[in-house]
Symmetry: C2
Subunit: 184 residues, 2 copies
DNA sequence: CATAAATTCGACCCTTGAGTCAAATTTATA
DNA sequence: TATAAATTTGACTCAAGGGTCGAATTTATG
């Protein structure tokens, strides 16, 4: 069902632009040339759409984690590769971290939080590895991780696809600044 | 009117915890032992509360910008001082950047966006100064700025006042990571 | 006290927007 | 083309929540 994905994407784009609660189902429908009722043929609820938006990103991030497995010399190196993947990912395909986790309830919320925690664990693992092998300066791992993960989340707010700055450029510079910030 | 500030603070705390749209006026009122109607004696609308929350932070940031004027040797130095102030500020006093700018409309929105832009300009100015005087590595200034400003905005999501990690520790490590990331 | 001013409240109004449903329309398929 | 399946819709229901209002209550103040 490709149309379902189209709905999720259209909604995601709108959520990113105006926020989850400031986007009505009617607006999403109109942006696809449909009526609201038709949306509910593809989707169970508005919350489900938000959920899928989040999951889509975490799925891609999991993929990225897998794709850099085995690559890279030391912790810092591995981390750089992964971070670069993340930056690329989030400036492409209309994928983007949403901030409205608070609007998810119950199972939806739990699942998303768990997926986010898993990503954070994967990143933290690399950071700690780097601290052990001497490639990353010793410091509080949590602060370290959240410092540069924040930059990724902040992308939603300012990055405009097709604008002056390419996702490629962002990825490169973000990695450089992270590397230099953490290198021992 | 100190009670008005109490309302803004209580609301701000709730907004941060559960999000603007997931917090009802009744809940805010209850958290202060008041009825909803009583709230409207101190406040014009829910939107005004959100507006004040934002302004409060930007006022403090403006203050910080002023407080570091004239201090510091070079661009990187000045930037570090300012960034440290920012980090301290946002982990104190219940102050915190909110993400719900999208929920503000008209004048409110314009004002907040303008204030944010002003802060960004101040920071960007220092970055460019640093690139000129050789203390900061040359790179795209916008990407540079948003990289570490993102970390500050991400604080809302994970920082818990009174938790294991102190605001002081965050400020220190954030500054260190920013410095190393940017130093020429 | 008495009276004015400052607060607070219960009850109400009203809009917005999510979600439903039976019927209509379009698109396969035999 | 007849019939079933897949889509789409207009019209509706319903609850949540922001905001208002006149009355009640509490707190100054002369």
């Amino acid at each position: 069902m490709a149309k379902r994905r189209a709905v999720i994407f259209a909604a995601g784009a709108a959520f990113r632009r105006r926020g989850y609660h400031n986007t009505s189902m009617v607006e999403i429908a109109r942006s696809l040339g449909l009526s609201k009722a038709a949306l509910y043929y593809y989707v169970k609820s508005k919350e489900e759409i938000l959920f899928e938006c989040h999951i889509m990103v975490y799925a891609a991030m999991d993929e990225a984690v897998k794709s850099v497995k085995g690559k890279g010399e030391d912790g810092l190196d591995k981390l750089s590769l992964l971070y670069s993947e993340f930056a690329r990912l989030l400036t492409r395909d209309g994928l983007a971290l949403l901030a409205d986790v608070d609007s998810l309830k119950g199972e939806y919320r739990d699942t998303v939080m768990a997926r986010r925690a898993a990503i954070e664990r994967a990143v933290t693992r690399l950071v700690k590895m780097g601290m052990k092998d001497g490639s990353i300066k010793k410091a509080d791992a949590k602060i370290t991780v959240f410092f540069f993960m924040g930059a990724l989340n902040w992308l939603n707010v300012w990055y405009e696809p097709g604008g002056r700055i390419s996702g490629e450029a962002i990825a490169e510079q973000f990695v450089a600044q992270m590397r230099n910030g953490l290198a021992a």
